[in-house]
């Protein structure tokens, strides 16, 4: 990776206000000169952004409008974008159509939370080892971890299925948690390592000189300082676990009570006509919490995404 992009990721990875503030002031002073757009440039930029956001948001807008339409109106022609006498009825009916819906939403959060805790417990020591200690084979090991990222769970599905079966974990939460966590560990190691490398080495050495053990140094000196980085990887891991829970849940679990939301939503399919309005309503209730999260934690997400994309 280039020095430029690396410094970009590092400066965004801190995501700290004190770094952003001077940049903003500087940008403002230059804006008067370089960034002055003519009126047609402004129109062009907004038109471009509008087009881009329509593509990104269209399914959400349509999904929301569908959730407001009664089923009879959904299955009628000609197509009407705006619901006529739309109501929030589907948001009440859905709990009856798929009785386990509440449980599915809970499962999604439960599985993602356990994955996040496991990943942090495994990643923090590993990232510290890669950030601080130079031992033979460190580079190769780091490379091997990163290569894991390149293989998806879908390719390894057959042996994973056999593994889960022989461990007796099929149709349990663990069948979704254990493989789910594995594919989130490598990028988190990379991300936290980048963060830890910026904590001055002198702190470790000072603690060592004062007679602190290595483990004590990690727990009492490094961990508190690494907290912002740990927060970033927690959010990234949670979002990753939350967004990608499908294939393992589809293949390794057939018990309704353990299904996370994406698979649980199939409950709306197995009837004569798919209850699209309730399906969309259920989706919106399920994704509302993450939507709130991205508004408030947007900066951490950007930091995690830019540093998380593997670079060397």
């Amino acid at each position: 990776m280039t020095e430029l992009a690396r410094s970009a990721s590092e400066s965004t990875a801190t995501a700290s206000a004190e770094q952003k503030a001077p940049a903003k002031v500087k940008a403002r002073s230059q804006k008067a000169m370089i960034d002055r757009y003519t009126w047609y440039e402004v129109v062009g930029i907004y038109a471009g952004i509008a087009l881009f956001l329509i593509f990104v948001l269209a399914p959400f807008i349509e999904g929301f409008l569908v959730s407001l339409k009664p089923l009879a109106q959904l299955f009628s022609t000609p197509y009407n974008f705006i619901p006529e006498n739309g109501s929030f009825q589907a948001y009440f009916d859905m709990w009856n159509s798929v009785p386990a819906l509440g449980l599915h939403i809970f499962n999604s959060f439960f599985i993602s939370s356990v994955i996040t805790l496991m990943v942090i417990a495994i990643v923090v020591p590993a990232a510290y080892a890669f950030a601080r200690f130079e031992f033979t084979g460190a580079g190769v090991m780091l490379g091997a971890f990163l290569a894991v990222n390149m293989f998806s769970g879908a390719v390894l599905l057959i042996p994973l299925f056999r593994l889960m079966r022989s461990l007796g974990l099929l149709n349990t939460y663990w069948a979704m948690i254990i493989p789910g966590a594995a594919f989130l560990i490598p990028s988190s190691i990379w991300l936290l390592r980048t963060y830890l490398m910026r904590i001055p080495r002198e702190l470790d050495e000072a603690a060592w000189a004062d007679g602190a053990s290595r483990l004590y140094t990690l727990r009492r000196v490094i961990l508190p300082l690494a907290m912002p980085g740990i927060v970033v990887i927690s959010i990234m891991t949670f979002i990753g676990a939350y967004a990608q829970q499908f294939i393992f849940a589809l293949t390794f679990n057939s018990k309704t009570e353990y299904m996370p939301l994406p698979v649980g939503l199939f409950g709306f399919f197995g009837r004569q006509e798919v209850l699209w309005n309730e399906l969309m309503a259920a989706s919106f209730v399920g994704i509302l919490p993450v939507m709130v999260v991205i508004v408030f934690l947007q900066r951490y997400l950007v930091a995690g995404l830019t540093a998380g994309a593997i670079k060397q």
């Binding site: 590993a126 390149m150 390719v155």
Partner: protein
């Protein structure tokens, strides 16, 4: 024991949980895939080694090369569109206009929402009789009959690509946006002082400095797209008549769908070989790029 030796031991100790975990959940299954690919494993508990038979079968069946080619075509268009739309998005969101922060937040939903849910929404939009896209095309008089996108091979192929692009664009956009913002402002000032116009600055300052980030991102999204499963499985399950069957879908159908684990493993091994090749290219490229910068 010297200090450096104990440090190494301590570091290895710290790495132990992560290493064991990855060995058990990724490395062992990878090894098991290779072993299985030489057996006739199926639902029954025992199986025999049958040598290269699985490989001979999948390559002589004829449609496997077709699947490989289709996977590459699908991946190529998907990655190309992601990069084009993502670059445009990043450049637009980098423009200093009011509302920047809000626009950036609005870019993220497809990436943070459970993939399956976004795909369900697309599935309904592609519906021929009642879906939005076909409906709007008819409302605006661009078509006079319903167009069920997922029912024809040709349209289903592109429909799955568009959905894949939709899911991948936010990540590309935000990553490239960060790269754009890391370009030193002085360069623009210098060019501006020399009288360079906006378009000239974009072509001669922005684009060249974006190339490394764009290359990294396209290789990363190449690997992710190549492994894409959820989208095609939910939308078409590989159909109609195999026109959206990529290698991953093909493997899943053979192994989980018809319980031919051995043959499925052989197909998975072929995927792993391609992915490893991409990996090598990626690590090479990344090393080359960082060297180029030092010089």
């Amino acid at each position: 024991m010297t200090r450096s030796q104990s440090a190494t031991l301590f570091a290895l100790g710290l790495l132990l949980p992560a290493t064991l975990y990855i060995l058990a959940i990724v490395a062992y299954p990878l090894f098991d895939t290779i072993v299985l690919s030489f057996t006739n494993a199926a639902l029954r508990p025992t199986y025999d080694f049958i040598g290269w038979e699985n490989y001979e079968r999948i390559f002589s069946a004829g449609n496997f090369t077709e699947v490989i080619i289709r996977t590459f075509v699908w991946t190529f268009f998907s990655v190309a569109l992601k990069m084009i739309i993502g670059t445009c998005g990043a450049v637009l969101l980098n423009a200093a206009v009011p509302g920047q922060t809000v626009f950036r937040i609005l870019t993220m939903p497809p990436w943070v929402v459970p993939m399956a849910i976004g795909i369900f929404m697309w599935g309904w939009m592609y519906n021929g009789q009642f879906g939005m896209i076909s409906g709007l095309l008819q409302n605006f008089g661009l078509r006079d009959s319903p167009l069920p996108f997922l029912a024809y091979g040709n349209t289903a192929f592109w429909a799955t690509i568009v959905t894949d692009v939709w899911i991948g664009v936010p990540m590309v956009t935000i990553y490239l946006l960060a790269a754009l913002q890391s370009i030193p402002k002085d360069l623009y000032e210098a060019a501006w002082t020399d009288g360079a116009g906006r378009w000239y600055r974009f072509r001669r300052v922005t684009l060249p400095l974006m190339v490394p980030a764009m290359l990294t991102m396209s290789l990363l999204s190449l690997i992710a797209t190549f492994n894409s499963f959820d989208i095609i499985w939910i939308l078409t399950q590989g159909g109609p008549s195999g026109s959206t069957t990529t290698m991953i879908i093909d493997t899943y159908r053979t192994a989980i769908g018809s319980f031919r684990y051995g043959e499925g493993a052989a197909r998975a091994v072929v995927i792993c070989i391609f992915v490893s090749l991409f990996c090598i290219v990626y690590f090479r490229a990344v090393r080359q790029l960082s060297k180029g910068q030092i010089r």
